[in-house]
Amino acid sequence: MAIIKKIINWGRIKSPWVLHFNTGACNACDIEIIASLTPRYDLERFGVLLKGTPRHADILLCSGPVTKQVECRLLRIYEQMAEPKFVIAVGSCASSGGVFGCCYNVEGGIDTVIPVSIYIPGCPVNPQALIDGLVKLLASLEGPSPCMKDSKARDDLPIGKP
């Protein structure tokens, strides 16, 4: 049994598929995410593929603060992803709310809504920083304490909340 777990864990580390979701960023972080997927930085070296649908993805790359409007969409996308799933907060805004932190229409960082595994600071994040964060997340899966947050029990997620 242990060996099977090990093999599956190996597969998980070697093939992280990402989904990119803009929760209200100023678009600079999004451009940097795209830049790190293009030939200059080539994330496919690590097996990263950009997927269009949450069902295929393992890692949710969130950029930007969570606005009030996007909150339930973010939850929904998070819920549509299959376990095991990880969330990376890309940029200062996603980590804490950043410059938009005290806006009337902003909830705060990504972790006010869904559990986050890795925070990558920067405004906007550098592609190198993004790759570093991703590699650190994958490396943590090898060790005894993976950055795996328990997703909340399905019933207490405020999906229907307006």
Binding site: G11, E44, T53
Partner: protein, 314 residues
């Protein structure tokens, strides 16, 4: 009995097809990456993807038709793997053959496409429904040129069996040169079957999320990806058997190498095609197939008939 079971399940059947399909996927992705001046994925990437998908949670949408959703990928896998048994690979003789097996291979190759349609349709999500309809529309476009080209080759050989075709082309060497235009048309049509880039309209991820596969995840997606890999191997070995029928020497190892080289050649052509062109629109694709490729395929049939007349007169 035992030997046949081994042939069907291990070599050159299911297991070989599975591993070879992964190798081809890797070659395809790596070549594409190198053409874009990237480093590309490591050699174990398709295997890691497969294992990861097996280890993920299976989500079945509440609205979907559970039986179709779950059983479809298995049917597609079985059909693609069965088609492989009727194609002459490195022997003159395919594992199984009878007169008319070319039709059976056609039908079996159609089943995965149909499964993509049904799976997408019964997932009951808007994106997957659009993808499913596009799959079917595209299917009506590329199928005619593809089959016409393969039939032109079989007309020349005057047989409906793939193995007998190979025997004919070995008896008349260089006859395959006359069907070479058909090879390129069939190759382009094969891109449509595999949903590769100029024709990846059904799963255009920039427009309709992931097309028919939108709701698939976990084990089912792993199966579907395997089916696509297998289709790639089966399709290119069908083209290799029909249009490049040479190199069947007595030394088994050597002719195996020649077979691999042929498949790699076709894979390389496909990789080049889908890294240098962009996606077409559905109407462009349909009109291209019907207005350009279908007449060209007819021309190929005419050429084959004329050559056949010469052969008969001689």
């Amino acid at each position: 009995m035992l030997k046949e079971l081994f042939n069907i399940l291990v070599f050159p059947g299911l297991l070989f097809l599975f591993i070879f399909g992964m190798a081809i996927e890797f070659v395809d992705r790596k070549l594409c990456a190198r053409l874009q001046n990237r480093i590309g994925p490591p050699w174990y990437q398709p295997l890691a993807d497969f294992i990861k998908l097996l280890g993920k949670e299976d989500v079945v949408p509440q609205e979907s038709d559970v039986a179709v959703f779950k059983l479809g990928p298995v049917f597609a896998l079985a059909a693609a793997a069965t088609a492989f048994l009727y194609i002459p690979l490195w022997n003159k003789q395919a594992l199984f053959s009878f007169s008319g097996d070319i039709i059976v291979v056609f039908y079996l190759l159609t089943i995965p496409t149909l499964v993509f349609f049904l799976g997408g349709w019964y997932s009951r999500s808007v994106f997957s429904m659009i993808g499913a309809v596009r799959t079917l529309t595209q299917f009506f476009a590329y199928e005619v040129p593809l089959f016409m080209c393969i039939l032109s080759s079989s007309l020349l050989a005057n047989t409906w069996s793939l193995s007998e075709m190979t025997v004919f082309y070995l008896a008349h060497p260089w006859c395959w040169l006359f069907t070479l235009p058909g090879f390129f048309i069939a190759l382009i049509a094969l891109l449509g079957k595999l949903e590769k880039v100029p024709f990846d309209i059904p799963e255009a991820e920039t427009e309709i999320v992931a097309g028919a596969f939108t709701e698939y995840g976990g084990r089912f997606l792993a199966f579907l990806r395997t089916v696509l890999n297998m289709e790639m191997v089966v399709g290119s070995s069908l083209l290799a058997a029909v249009f490049l029928p040479f190199g069947f020497v007595h030394n088994a190892a050597l002719s195996f190498m020649i077979f691999i080289a042929k498949i790699l050649f076709i894979t390389a052509l496909i990789a080049v095609a889908h890294s240098v062109v962009a996606r077409l629109r559905l109407n462009q694709m349909v009109s291209l197939c019907w207005r350009v490729f279908a007449p060209l395929a007819f021309l190929q049939v005419l050429i084959s008939l004329v050559i056949k007349g010469f052969l008969v007169m001689r």
